[in-house]
Symmetry: D3
Subunit: 130 residues, 6 copies
């Protein structure tokens, strides 16, 4: 009685099939993640997300590993288990070490703590920062 | 009728005064941020936070600039204006460019979007990741 | 070692029994959801929630299906799996199609992204909106 | 161009007027908070919220001060400035000291930190707790 | 000492100028919102967001007004003041009445309450929903 | 393919072993929670968190039970299942009854609802509170 089911490759047609093929080619893999198979329920969302993620996550002023670490940090703050897992693995494939991920967690946890300290004490922005 | 007011340097004594002096020395500045002046309402919290932040944010497997960027990413996800502002400035003082911060925002926003896609479609973790 | 266990219908007495009967009558069903069986641990919470939800979710300026869709949108933003599931089913029973739910997800994800863009760039409210 | 404006006492009629009178009587005051004046835009929401809050916040197994402290803790975690302010004042009126509120903040901040540690490391529930 | 400043129309060039012109044409207005002027700090983000929002918010299985209401519901749950304000106005321009927005708020608030009830009591998904 | 695995007692050395011994001694138990075994991946985080939690959660102006209840309230608002479970048990060990926990949930849920009402209606802080 699930509301949505994954669209498997064998059932992909049209735009969905094209995006699946593109993912496999660009990522040099035969495996399509569950994430993409679920998004395929809405072909427009699938295509837009795949296009956007390539643009946003490509090397720019920030390198790809740093972008993946930032992605993981957001996912940890939002408690998205799937996202933490898949993007930690992506970060490792781009050079992140377990030690880096462990320090990342310490920063994420500390930032969440001090964010609440600021809001709880209702700290006003320093005049020098305005 | 504020519940808490800042403890100004002139009124700092004991442990609070010590931490204020240490902040100024370690950061080579004469300025104490509103954040620390507010935490001073609870000297234990002030001291613990100052000690912890030095430990967590120091150069390790991740460099200091990357740690600040991660701090900003969490603060953006939590919508903590003060934290975004002060740690963006800290990131810049450690080498981050405006272009980097702009790419950081794109990653943070994208991650928040895909986190919700995952939760909304209730994507199950891929067997290959288990 | 669970802190709370469900109150099954066979064990329901007094106010809990009354609310259970009312749910079955008003919803024309023999099935009591786990949600209500858990709330029954606090009869006041059970009764207040049942009364409130009837008042809030009834047809008004907004029709019942739209209200269920909004309920789902909030639950997706809060990543409440149980709530997404049960209210998606409720939305479908009131006329929502799978296509509608799929578009709903796209809007929810997009709104979560632009919410963070606004907070990250600290966009000020336009003077024309004040 | 505000979407909603407060309903002032002079303009209150029917159910809104009744609730305003009841708030003043039960709280032994002549002052109606902005919160209630805003809720008055939807008389059903005003009445339901006023009834619910009296039921939930009344002395029970937990005393009123502890309930207000819990209210403040939630509001801090959600960064609701208005709520932190008004319920901190309510807590003080029921016996909370500034020292208590300061310790409350330390607990709230610490809990937010360890919540993220748990989610980031994806700690599984101990078998002994199942 | 702001990290980012708005790019005003007079200073827009290249891709930013193009998007600004497109917004004015498609929305039949002379006014560019602060949101777009801020996104212009990253032309790729500006263009991607403008393209995506047109795709996601266009009439489909859900009408445009319902999509705006859902947008507002997410923004309320995330406490994004700018987003609540601008999308409430957008919802009204597409036919939403003040009464509808008022009922929307009641649903959003109620959903946030029951989401927490579910998580707090750790309600398991009903077998009939699996 | 987990990113992190627990450090079991048999494999604990140096600082990790010391903290594990201290936890067992101070808590008068032979059992180390999964939480600590996971934090052991980063000995500095393990030690800092253990030291901080002892300082923050010790009896002060607030008693230990009240502090645990506040911890649970935050964890419920953040939907951290592990944290709700472990700290509810801790609260009970310090005197909290099931009835207290049940009232706690009612307050947490209500506060989450009214927090959203305040943000949705964009209620301004009363002049008398400024």
């Amino acid at each position: 009685m699930a509301v949505f089911n994954m669209i498997e490759e064998a059932d992909a047609t049209g735009k969905v099939k094209e995006v699946f093929e593109d993912i496999k080619k660009k990522r040099n893999t035969d495996y399509i993640n569950n994430f993409w198979k679920m998004l395929a329920n809405n072909p427009e969302t699938l295509e837009r997300t795949w296009t956007s993620i390539q643009q946003v996550m490509k090397k720019g002023a920030l390198d790809e590993m740093t972008k993946e670490l930032i992605y993981v940090a957001v996912s940890m703050t939002n408690s998205c288990e799937y996202c933490i897992k898949s993007h930690s693995i992506a970060a490792k494939s781009k050079g992140a070490t377990t030690e880096m991920l462990s320090e990342l967690i310490a920063v994420v946890a500390m930032a969440n703590e001090t964010n609440r300290l600021v809001e709880s004490y209702q700290v006003k922005v320093d005049k020098v920062y305005e």
